[in-house]
């Protein structure tokens, strides 16, 4: 937690020193704002990583500040505090973008936990945004990428009957089939783009969206089904927090189901990056997932 700055607006002196003690112990750098305007000024000049905001400021100023702060720094997590927690203001605060709503009377450890969750989520969001940006920057119509794809097409003399095979090889290299790549293939092979697009969407093996670093395939063959494959899939969905067919927010895993991988003797089975895990139970999933970074 070193180097992470928390900016606090708290009208009660006793509470201020409580929070300061608890947070400094954990290595956070704590700054205090005197009032609303100085808080907003700080946000402009030295943006912190997280804000703790007292909602009990006179005249509902807290709620207004929350809205302004979020509009200035949309990604900034704000934790709201109050003496007397009630449902309505809580809902209102969350609606205005608060990360969480805690009681001042609550334990310090609960506050710390909330802070660390908020920061964790924020860091991941930053990372995800960055990656998404990189992804957008990375197009596949630069000469280098096209030359690589052209190399694949030349392996079979640009014969259009090898289309499926080309797409498989391209996907192997790029992890998915980008639009640019499909357009280039159609142009280079002199076939219609709808045909290329039709094939890329008809066959299950192709993905038109980028996939995670690791591919989880849960087998739903008959043998796996009667031995609990569906439950295994649901367990993965809970564990990874994404439905089948999606990629986790940190791009670590893509979860897909597959109709029989031909390893029925060890049912139920799943695969991670092509490695088989047989005779599986829900219990063993977290351990297996922890092997993949």
């Amino acid at each position: 937690m070193l180097g992470l700055e928390v900016l606090i607006l708290e009208q009660e002196a006793g509470r201020r020193s409580d929070i300061e003690r608890a947070l400094s112990k954990e290595g956070y750098t704590v700054r205090f704002a005197q009032d609303g305007p100085s808080l907003l000024a700080e946000l402009g000049s030295h943006p912190p990583h997280l804000v703790i905001l007292d909602l009990d400021l006179p005249g509902n100023e807290g709620m207004a500040l929350l809205a302004t702060a979020r509009s200035l720094q949309p990604a900034l997590p704000v934790i709201c505090e109050t003496e007397l927690p009630e449902v309505e203001p809580a809902v209102e605060a969350m609606r205005r973008g608060a990360y969480n709503y805690v009681a001042k009377s609550g334990s310090a450890s609960y506050l710390l936990e909330t802070i660390s969750h908020a920061l964790e989520r924020e860091l991941m969001a930053v990372e995800t945004r960055q990656r998404a940006k990189e992804r957008r920057v990375r197009t596949f119509d630069d000469p280098e990428s096209l030359a690589a794809i052209d190399g694949i097409l030349s392996r079979h003399d640009y014969s259009d009957s090898m289309l499926i095979s080309y797409l498989q090889d391209i996907q192997k290299d790029l992890n998915y089939l980008p639009q640019d790549a499909l357009r280039f293939v159609a142009r280079r092979l002199n076939v219609s783009l709808p045909r290329v697009y039709g094939i890329a969407t008809f066959y299950k093996a192709f993905s038109l969206r980028p996939r995670g670093r690791h591919l989880v395939h849960v087998c739903l063959g008959t043998a796996c089904h009667v031995r609990g494959g569906q439950k295994l899939l649901e367990s993965f969905e809970r564990e990874l927090g994404v439905p089948s067919g999606e990629t986790t927010y940190d791009d670590r895993f893509s979860l897909e189901s597959v109709r029989c991988v031909g390893c029925c003797g060890l049912a139920p089975v799943f695969m991670v990056d092509g490695k088989f895990y047989g005779k599986m139970t829900q219990e063993k999933i977290p351990e297996v997932l922890s092997r993949y970074e």
Partner: protein, 216 residues
Amino acid sequence: MAERAKSIRIDGRKFTFRRGQTILGIAREHGIDIPTLCHHEALEPYGSCRLCVVEVKSGDRTRTMASCVTPAGDGMVVRTSTPGIREIRKTLIMLLLARCPNIESIKAMARKLGVKKVPFPKSDEDCYLCGMCVRACAEIVGVRAIGFAQRGHESVVAPPFGLVSNACIGCGTCTTICPARTFDLDKVFARRGMHRVEGKDGVGRCIICETYYMGG
């Protein structure tokens, strides 16, 4: 010696036929009605709607076949409206009506086959995937600007990536041939600012050169 003319029996009537004719072709030639939803005179037979199924007895085998894609065979005995066939057609139109409850051609066909109620929850699709637009684009216009995407129940007719297709010449054949009249060219090609050819009567055939042209 002249070859004996090949003959087929449809609903008790005997007809001679030319090589390569389909059962549907012969039936229509002689005014026997077989309902279809994906067949078009200007296009290659496709056999997807299956409404044209008939009972075909050939040798000692009796089978249900799609008449639009089954070539006539010598000595075939065809029945176009047995109770079983009627049952199949009713179920099929129910399925299509549940998919596309607001398409006139489907509603008309359902009325014709005596189907009023549909035992399935209704959705509201505007396309029943007869593929005429896709086929017309490929076979008549020859540009293949649209195609099928996805598969199974998720199949759709779409230009690549849902975006404007560069290959499209804006001829409008797809919109004119669409039996559902829902293929919205404006929507698909709006961004290219191309005009669309107004067509009223679908694809017609030139009586002199025998090629197909756009109606209107």
